[in-house]
């Protein structure tokens, strides 16, 4: 399988035997292991409630109650490693610098009154100088096709624009890994196309949790199939998504583009 060919040295993300439950709840994730190579784009698919969002949040250390206090302690083996850096309490700032997280609802992520302030939020927290921060804002807004949007109010943007501003805010921190939670939900076709184009140009690794399997075919090198908190399948996109029996079993459908003989990649 692809997993075994990727050595741990060259992995951008390594998840090892990760299990998780919210306090007092049932298991959300059970014994998950996978790696992502640098520059690789991974599609994370599965029915609603499979644990996709929870898994993504682990990549960014967003579930602080579960962070191990000391790396190397016997009972606190690191389960998530980003660029050879284990996710733990002491490393959390650096981990968040390396992993950019796009939330499902842009209203959760755009909390500043203007676009400029929101995109500048990350760079300023990284301790950049004012000039550098301004430069980053300019560059990252340009990279999502929203140059000149700085003075706009975050209240008066379309959903597609809001998602792109969020993404600019993430790009401004110059992450090496992107974790995207349902980036394409409720977007109209044009906004969806624009977003796909932006993601294709991003040089780092990406993990995209989505129900939009046609985008997965278009964008992702490999697919992880998650159901009921367990990793049910992993492999090249076409192999997994065209397996009708497997897809059916986990409440998914073979995307149109992989049905029949005609596939245009």
């Amino acid at each position: 399988m692809t997993e075994s060919t990727v050595t741990s040295e060259s992995s951008a993300v390594r998840v090892e035997r990760l299990s998780f439950r919210y306090p007092g709840g049932p298991d959300v994730l059970t014994d998950i292991s996978f790696t992502i190579a640098p520059g690789e784009i991974i599609g994370l698919v599965g029915p609603s409630g499979a644990g996709k969002s929870t898994l993504l949040q682990h990549l960014n250390g967003l579930l602080p109650s579960q962070l191990p206090n000391f790396v190397g302690h016997v009972s606190n083996v690191p389960h998530v490693v980003i660029d050879n850096l284990p996710v733990a309490r002491q490393t959390i700032a650096e981990v968040r610098r390396r992993v950019g997280f796009l939330f499902q609802d842009p209203d959760d992520q755009l909390f500043c009154p203007t676009v400029f302030e929101d995109v500048a939020f990350g760079p300023l927290n990284l301790g950049l100088s004012d000039d550098e921060a301004r430069q980053r804002v300019r560059d990252s807004l340009a990279s999502v096709g929203l140059a000149g949007y700085e003075p706009r109010s975050t209240l008066r943007l379309s959903l597609g624009e809001r998602k792109r501003v969020c993404l600019a805010g993430v790009f401004a921190c110059q992450p090496s890994v992107l974790a995207l939670d349902e980036p394409f939900s409720s977007l109209d076709p044009r906004a969806r196309r624009t977003l796909i184009g932006i993601l294709k140009r991003f040089p780092g690794s990406q993990i995209i949790a989505t129900h939009d399997l046609d985008v997965v075919v278009d964008l992702c090198h490999r697919v992880l199939l998650l159901d009921a908190g367990q990793l049910r399948a992993a492999g090249p996109t076409a192999d997994i998504l065209s397996n009708a029996a497997l897809m059916e079993r986990h409440g998914l459908e073979v995307p149109w583009r992989l049905r029949g003989e005609h596939t245009n990649g």
Binding site: G100, D108, P113, L124, S153, V170
Partner: protein
């Protein structure tokens, strides 16, 4: 034309008008009249329609009236009524001035100006988040109301209306708490460590 004044001038003008409105004794009728005229003139300068101010005052007066009416009820004689009038007049004038300020000054400019005057960061963060999410919460409430109306096939009794309104508010509170959690996560994800950092937007980018 007030819209293009320097931000500091607008803020100080508003503070001065509010101070004047709250310091002039109500017994000095003509003085109060002059202050009211100045405030009215400011509205005219900013081309704020009178109907707009009046509509908002209609929402402001009932709670103000309830607050003021307690005084003549508890204080015997003319003194109580004088205080009643004082509260009504000062409240109305201050409210009109605040309306003028929010109309001539975009909110981010107001925040930037307050920041330059070294208003504590925590206060500014609260103001900024409140302004941002008031609209989001309002939209959420609106959606819930629409959803309720869509399945309400007859006119409900008064009791049922109040009951469902209470449910709606409860749900909104829970949603707001959930959202606060997610916003906190989003702030952490971009390296927030509890300190506010802020830089001025480049001037040439402003319209």
């Amino acid at each position: 034309m007030c819209h293009r004044w320097p931000p500091l001038a607008k803020l100080f003008a508003a503070i001065a008008m509010i101070l004047a409105a709250t310091c002039v004794p109500i017994a000095h009728g003509p003085l109060v009249g002059i202050v009211a005229c100045v405030i009215f003139f400011a509205h005219t300068l900013a081309r704020i329609p009178l109907a707009y101010v009046a509509r908002r005052l209609l929402f402001f007066w009932p709670p103000l009236f309830l607050m003021a009416i307690s005084l003549p009820l508890s204080q015997a004689g003319q003194k109580g009524w004088l205080m009643f009038m004082t509260i009504l007049v000062r409240g109305t004038l201050s409210f009109s001035t605040a309306l003028w300020l929010v109309n001539v000054m975009p909110f981010d400019q107001l925040l930037a100006t307050l920041r330059r005057l070294r208003v504590p960061d925590v206060l500014l963060a609260i103001l900024s988040l409140m302004y941002r999410f008031l609209f989001v919460l309002w939209d959420e409430l609106d959606r819930m109301r629409t959803a309720r109306a869509a399945r309400l096939f007859r006119k409900p009794s008064l009791w049922a209306t109040w009951r469902s309104a209470a449910h709606l508010l409860g749900r909104l509170l829970i949603r707001a708490l959930d959202r606060a959690d997610r916003i906190h996560g989003a702030m952490l994800a971009r390296g927030w460590d509890g300190r506010s950092r802020w830089i001025e937007q480049p001037r040439e980018d402003r319209p």
